[in-house]
């Protein structure tokens, strides 16, 4: 039986994982797809580099054309990362009728729509399960498992680094800077952690999830993003008192035909299924009109989990190849994009404010909320020892983002308000 030949772009940790899984599970793969699977060529930057995995040197090439123009290669697995050249490689491969499996969230978030169109035009599969939440088969869950349902809400912990940092801060009462440094030393955070801690990585994954879940093309710039670098131990301590756990939450919500997608540090009530997701784990909570609450949990990154998702996509491509039905499973968005206005976005909010410790200040503050029709779920007022300052902690009931922004502005303008120390979204179960 004719073997399926793979061209591998990139040989980092995920690439090495893919090779390892294909080698170790050759019999299982053979059982599932009915033919041998062979890695024919591997694109690397430096052929002579020492590697963690043993690879025959004649498989390596530093010239992408040797792979893209090889007529015998059926499937391209892209685990090299990057957006510019990588995109050109994949478009070139698809135009030559090669199927593509990619783990590249940046590429899919920025150019997924274009790549899927090219794939469809050329009858090719383009699968990207590994681009969101590594080892969790969430994209399959959305496309196939909940095929008949109308998904109205998705909430995801889709970045392992920030979840690790928040878990450590919360469990050990340590500061953001201290935990970040430790995470960098342990290899859980990168030397430049911006993309993780400022929420950009999570935003890319939420754009991909929302596009699939809502069947509507959501661009990366449609996602409102804020990160965790300003989260303090005090915030977490107040959260704990109030029964909340802080997570960096990717939030996607649909109401009628309009959607919103955001990433922000968020207080979840402790009994929310996402609140117990610890350390570097990821989870995606999905609410469907018929199915109700479901959650997918697992490792969001790591070479073997990500490689598992890549090889699962490869199995799907090969099954399609053997059935002669490639290029037909991509789901084009059913709806044209409609984003909510700020007045249509609702949330509860947590606010921590430092004010002058004077008579009447409290009433002045609460009256601002009252004018916008926003009431409170919880209020704590605590005197601080120095500088005649009081600390007020408020948890609001539902407010529109428009009202919330105006309230924040009015609070800032108030003489009695010294500083708005922190402000977070609150989600209760």
């Amino acid at each position: 039986m004719k073997a399926i030949s793979i061209g591998l772009l990139g040989l980092g940790t995920v690439g090495a994982g893919v090779i390892q899984i294909i080698k170790n599970h050759q019999d299982k793969l053979m059982h599932q797809v009915g033919c041998p699977v062979i890695i024919k060529k591997i694109l690397v930057q430096d052929i002579n580099k020492t590697r963690s995995i043993e690879v025959e040197k004649e498989l390596l090439t530093s010239n992408a054309d040797e792979i893209l123009n090889d007529k015998e290669i059926d499937v391209i697995i892209e685990v090299m990362g990057g957006v510019g050249a990588t995109k050109d490689y994949l478009i070139n491969a698809l135009r030559q009728g090669k199927h593509v499996v990619t783990a590249n969230k940046d590429l899919m978030a920025l150019h997924g729509s274009e790549l899927l169109t090219v794939a469809s035009e050329h009858g090719c599969d383009l699968f990207y399960e590994a681009s969101v939440a590594g080892g969790i088969p969430i994209l399959r869950g959305l496309v196939d498992g909940l095929a008949s349902d109308r998904i109205t809400q998705m909430m995801g912990i889709v970045n392992g680094t920030t979840n690790y940092i928040l878990t450590k801060m919360s469990n050990e009462g340590r500061s953001y800077d201290e935990v970040l440094k430790e995470a960098q030393a342990l290899g859980f955070a990168e030397a430049d952690p911006t993309s993780d801690v400022e929420g950009l990585d999570a935003a890319r994954k939420m754009a991909i999830l929302a596009t699939l879940g809502f069947s509507m093309h959501i661009d990366l710039e449609d996602v409102e993003v804020s990160g965790i670098s300003n989260v303090t131990e005090e915030d977490l301590r107040y959260g704990e008192q109030l029964g909340y756990t802080m997570k960096l939450i990717g939030y996607a919500h649909r109401e009628e035909e309009k959607v919103e997608v955001s990433v922000a540090p968020t207080f979840l009530s402790d009994n929310h299924p996402l609140a117990s997701v610890q350390n570097e784990y990821n989870a995606v909570y999905v609410y469907g009109e018929a199915v109700g609450e479901t959650m997918f949990y697992g490792p969001g990154a790591g070479s073997l989990p990500t490689a598992t998702a890549v090889v699962s996509d490869l199995v799907a491509v090969i099954k399609n190849l053997r059935l002669g039905v490639n290029g037909r499973s991509a789901v084009t968005p059913q709806y044209s994009k409609q984003l909510k206005d700020d007045g249509e976005k609702f949330s509860k909010y947590f606010l921590r404010i430092h004010v002058q410790d004077e008579v009447g200040v409290f009433a002045e503050i609460t009256s601002i909320f009252a004018k916008h029709g926003v009431s409170f779920e919880k209020i704590l007022q605590l005197p601080i020892k120095k500088n005649e300052t009081s600390e007020i902690v408020l948890v609001t009931h539902r407010s529109s983002l428009t009202d919330y922004d105006q309230i924040l502005q009015k609070l800032t303008d108030l003489d009695a308000v010294k500083e708005i120390k922190s402000a977070y979204r609150v989600v209760r179960n």
Copy 2:
């Protein structure tokens, strides 16, 4: 475009849910499968019964042959339950080239292998996602999402009734009998709760999961079962002190080529992902060699969640129909069945024993464990006020089931042992 015609067997709550979803999501279905989906006939016992859902009376029939012999019906959806006649109906349907979607766990656990063989012989799809854990797309996760991985362990909370009872007992300190009665009054437990509380329902689901996850035909009688009807509030209270939560756990484990599958009340360490699954929710924890820990969480039952899974399977059947590739996606088991001997089954155990409050008894007991090479992780000894009785609570390190059974026998034979109050498996994260 030719519509796809469905024959529905059964019009209980799940059947009504299927009708509702197909009606409400006609446009989404149309977008996904490219043709209209029509329910052509419905098998019911009593055509004149008043129903919660509005259905045109001419769709109803009490004669199965009118559906099974209707050449225009492409797909049979079976939500009538039962094993005897239902099996005959489905075999009849498959032989006539009709594809089948079923939510029937009893049928699949008892006759799944035979039905899948008939389906495959006649080029028909037979899908049964809804038979395990209602709305959670776990079967797809196992077959597709973790396609390339080697699954070594599955642990499932796959029965909502027992999880509801254990959650209430644990959170509210109430007795089994009291909570069961309440659950029956609320409709969470059946009038005859045996199948749920004695673990039989969970065993059926575990047989299906293990067959798929291990690619090995596991029969229902291969699953060792014990239920929750003897679990007491005291047990839960001791568990709480030791940092454990009690769940009815379906456990499937593979080591080399041998497997074990069981259902038993089990103490999980509080930080285990399954420990926080509350009330009627289900979850399946899967450990794969490459992916590590993943978990699928959601509603395990309920008419709409189950109907969602049914309609998702229907979408898969119709996609295959349009591609002309039905009957090729069933995965025949790769391995022949090999069950572990008791000497190859390992676990930690929790034991609560009432003994004579005399000098030397404790040493006598611990020496029995020592002779079998079983050591302790935790020991509590507490005097009980009356009858010169002491209570000993032991948590062992790993022991084989053979050793454990012999230890239990020797303890029972000991004069100083008044009663073995309880004995449970312990799983730590």
